[in-house]
Amino acid sequence: MKAAVIQFPGSNCDLDMLNALQLFGVEAQIVSHKATSLAGYDAIFLPGGFSFGDYLRCGAIARFSPIMTAVTTAAAAGKLIVGVCNGFQILTEAGLLPGQLMMNETPGFICAEVPITVINQQSQFTNQYQQATITLPVAHGEGRYYADEATIAQLEANHQVIFRYQTNVNGSAEQIAGIVNEKGNVLGMMPHPERAVEAIIGNIDGQDFFRSILN
């Protein structure tokens, strides 16, 4: 598999994502937000961080980066698109995923390891998970998933909710931590699987996420 990790100005989990992918043998490369083509990549990762300082709104400015046209094309072509944290925020701002990530219910950045339920173990991003309860790191100030009721109902009905917090760390609607689009090839999630792939740093529950993508 060949993967692109998009680097926006202010991305700061780009190298972490690159390392994680390489650990699983993926041929992964950093691609600038100024690039205009993603031809040849099978999977595209929008990493965490503070693109454009997260000024105005998280992801609001990044969605106008030149690369986003290619991301939209790749999404339409059915390639795998993964947005983690800031990447998730960018995908919603760009309209590739429904809803929006808003300021945590209790204002302030939170960094924690939180229990998560893998709601949908069939998705292209989770099919290798053997158990439903896992722990993943979160690190965000604006991770409260919000969408109107109709959208939420649709997400639930289509099994588009992939991850849920077991305790609602940020006040997300229906404790949603990660969703996919209707076609199932675009995923956005606030927790950081790329920070959970090595035992020495305390968590390996992200490993099955990468195994699923590779599967």
Binding site: N12, D16, G53, D54, F109, A139
Partner: protein, 743 residues
């Protein structure tokens, strides 16, 4: 100077400067002003007077603290770069080095908590990457007044979000720090930030303007009127009746700093020696960075101020030189590479402009609108007159000694619970949960243990880091307090299995012109030095923050120690938590009735008093070596040092977040479990390793008891027993700060 540039028409003439004595407001003394006139053989103009005021301020020149700092021991086999540069550098093998430094932002944070703290982080990070190193970790050391005051909550919330927002946005994990609360810091909070970087030694750069004809490249953010005279502001005390210092507010832009950091490191990689010198523009911005770089190389410098990128209109030379706009760096670049280097920065949407050159004449010359607006000897500009500060033993130390504080506790369990909820002892998770501690995916031990551990990818190595000092101890005995600060920091490092290798410091004191304060400064540094030498941890960088007083009331002397350690084998990383039921609990060292200056004394009497007993530097070192050896031989499977709240708090912290409790027994009075004796560790050992461990430890360790499968904490003394359920204790410990903040 006949033609006066438009922007400068409203400035006082040199004669008016003299008549109005405006320099006194900038903390330049009358004597110093006269010396300058004499040296120049003319009156300095407004701009030049400003340059001297900034360069001769304590903040830039360390003129008052230098006699003390010069005594610091800063050389051993590891030291690649000692004090005097952006940060100190220690060799860690494999052509790599660790780079670190601490910095204070107390004064700005008192006025403007959020931006003051944020820009403190920004500044210390620039010090690290200006050396060519990749920043890998941040630590923060904070001191506040009592938490029940609303002003404390306001300061704490602002300062913590400032640190969090800046560091998180940069993507550098904040992995450790320390926080204490005491009324002494009510008006003068302490905000010290430490940053640690990893360097490929080939990339080492320093701030030197070498090479006549080389160009001066300005990179980063544009210059505005922010924080003019921040350096002199930091060099005077607060008078709570006036608010005139308030113009000194700088706003940080972590987004821009992230671009600046990545691009500077990239530029150094690509261009290597073509980039001759790098320095960040910190206090007194453009003047201090350029004058220091020229001074260190023994050269002159010539700048054209019209070239300086500007955010606002009509900036005067005075404002351009003294602005403390953030996120700016100065580079000295070989003339034939300037364009390419600049291009790298403009590609990242950063300003990058050639503003002048290195000259052979040893002069500091500034042009503006075609007029020369300053012409001063560089060496003279960077060398303030020597100061001889008077010292006097503080009255409290010579007065009839207070009687020894002897606690008489009727219900040790109740006292223990109260102690766990004391803000200084209670968990700081409510604070550090806001810091991203796991970005970069190298954090092996996160906040909440002793030292933090950050691994070095592609090696077996791990760096340990911590900050520590207990100002109360330093107040009661500056010299012993200084020794204890280093010892405590080292114990935190050692408890993780790492060997301490070096120190940075941040010396937070009151007004140095007060001989009693100067005595505190000199004596505590002497203590730091003694312990540092004993532990082979050279002091390779640091920072001084004086004038931490309001209306004549100084803070406790608070020399914060930032320490770094090296663990060669990642498999030996050791945490504080109990590992298995039935593991044996040993106390390394001997508990004494050390209650003066303790958290218990504060709790019971509401204040701190009495004498401190001395500590034996050799024993301290032996105990540390025992723990290191025990970990290396894999006999010790958890270790925690004893600090505020004594052995009782240490044991509780080892049990928290585990399914275990403990049962221990000692032949001293139960109140001694709260004694804050030096040189103590608590460690656990598997029963099958008992004989091996005892052989290693000999008389240095005493078997206290064992880890239990139930969650009761039971600490028996010769008179009473402390008995509390772990969950109850943990709740008190974990929720105290949150509860107080939300009240």
């Amino acid at each position: 100077m006949t033609i006066i540039p438009e922007a400068m028409r409203n400035e006082p003439t040199p004669e008016e400067v003299r008549a109005s004595q405006v320099y006194l407001q900038w903390s330049l003394s009358q004597d110093e002003y006269e010396m300058i006139c004499q040296h120049l053989n003319r009156l300095p103009n407004y701009t030049e007077t400003g340059l001297f005021a900034a360069m001769w301020s304590e903040h830039c020149s360390y003129k008052k603290s230098k006699p003390v700092l010069r005594k610091f021991w800063s050389q051993n086999e590891r030291v690649v770069q000692g004090p005097g540069e952006g940060a100190g550098v220690l060799d860690i093998g494999d052509n790599q080095a660790v780079v670190f430094k601490a910095e204070s932002h107390n004064h700005p944070s008192a006025v403007e908590p959020y931006q003051g703290a944020a820009t403190g982080v920004g500044g210390i990070i620039r010090d690290i990457f200006s050396m060519g190193a990749q920043p890998i970790a941040i630590l923060d050391s904070l001191r506040f007044g009592e938490l029940h005051h609303n002003t404390t909550k306001h300061l704490l919330n602002g300062i913590v979000s400032g640190i969090a927002d800046y560091g998180n946005s940069l993507g550098i994990p904040t992995v450790g720090g320390d926080v204490m609360f005491d009324a002494t810091y009510q008006q003068n909070p302490i905000v010290n930030a430490m940053a640690v970087g990893l360097l490929n030694q080939a990339d080492l750069h320093v701030g030197k303007a070498e090479g006549i004809g080389n160009r001066i490249l300005y990179v980063g953010a544009k210059t505005g009127r922010d924080g003019i005279h921040g350096a002199t502001f930091a060099s005077s005390d607060f008078d709570s009746s006036t608010d005139q210092n308030r113009s000194a507010v700088q706003v940080g832009d972590p987004f821009l700093e992230k671009l600046l950091m990545d691009t500077t490191i990239k530029a150094i990689h690509i261009f290597g020696a073509a980039i001759v010198g790098v320095q960040d523009m910190g206090a007194a911005g453009l003047v201090s960075s350029s004058a220091e770089m020229a001074g260190k190389a023994g050269n002159g410098i010539h700048l054209n101020l019209n070239q300086v990128p500007q955010r606002e209109t009509n900036l005067t030379p005075y404002e351009l030189m003294l602005s403390e706009s953030q996120e700016r760096m100065l580079m000295v670049v070989q003339a034939d590479h300037v364009a390419e280097v600049a291009q790298l920065f403009t590609d990242a949407d950063l300003a990058a402009v050639d503003i002048g050159e290195v000259t052979a004449d040893g002069r500091y010359r500034l042009d503006f609108d075609g007029v020369e607006v300053a012409n001063i000897d560089v060496q003279y500009l960077i060398t303030p007159p020597k100061q001889n500060q008077k010292q006097q033993v503080p009255a409290r130390l010579t007065a009839e000694a207070d009687p020894e504080f002897v606690p008489e506790l009727t219900d040790v369990t109740a006292t223990f619970k109260d102690l766990l909820a004391q803000s200084t002892i209670a968990s700081k998770a409510e604070i550090f949960k806001h810091y991203d501690c796991s970005v970069r995916t190298d954090t092996v031990i996160k906040p909440g243990g002793d030292a933090a551990l950050v691994r070095i990818k592609n090696t077996r190595k791990v760096l340990a880091m911590t900050t520590d000092v207990n100002g109360r101890y330093v107040y009661l005995n500056p010299q012993v307090g200084g020794q204890l600060a280093v010892a405590e920091a080292a114990r935190n490092i050692v408890a993780t299995g790492a060997t301490p290798i070096g120190i940075t410091d941040c010396l937070n004191f009151g007004d140095p012109d007060d001989p009693e304060i100067y005595y505190e400064l000199a004596q505590s540094c002497a203590g730091i030095n003694e312990m540092a030498q004993k532990l082979n941890t050279p002091i390779i960088s640091g920072n001084v923050s004086l004038y931490n007083e309001t209306d004549g009331q100084a803070i406790y002397p608070t020399p914060i120690i930032g320490m770094v350690g090296l663990l060669e084998n990642i498999d030996h990383a050791t945490t504080i938590n109990f590992k298995n039921a039935d593991d044996l609990i040993y106390l390394i060292g001997t508990v004494r009735p050390d209650f003066n200056g303790s958290e218990l004394q504060k709790l019971v009497t509401g204040k701190i008093s009495g004498q401190l007993k001395s500590l034996d530097l050799n024993i301290e070192k032996q105990h540390q070596q025992l723990v290191l050896k025990g970990i290396e031989d894999q006999l010790i499977n958890s270790a925690h040092d004893v600090a505020e709240g004594g052995v009782a708090v240490t044991l509780a912290e080892m049990a928290f977040k585990t399914p275990f409790g403990c049962q221990v027994q000692a032949d001293f009075a139960a109140s001694w479990y709260f004694a804050e004796s030096p040189s103590l560790f608590v460690v656990t050992v598997r029963p099958e390793h008992q004989a091996d461990f005892e052989l290693l430890a000999r008389t240095q360790a005493h078997l206290l008891g064992k880890v239990t499968a139930d969650t009761k904490l039971e600490l028996t003394g010769s008179d009473q027993t402390i008995k509390v359920n772990q969950a109850v204790a943990q709740k008190l410990y974990e929720e105290s700060i949150k509860c107080q903040l939300n009240q």
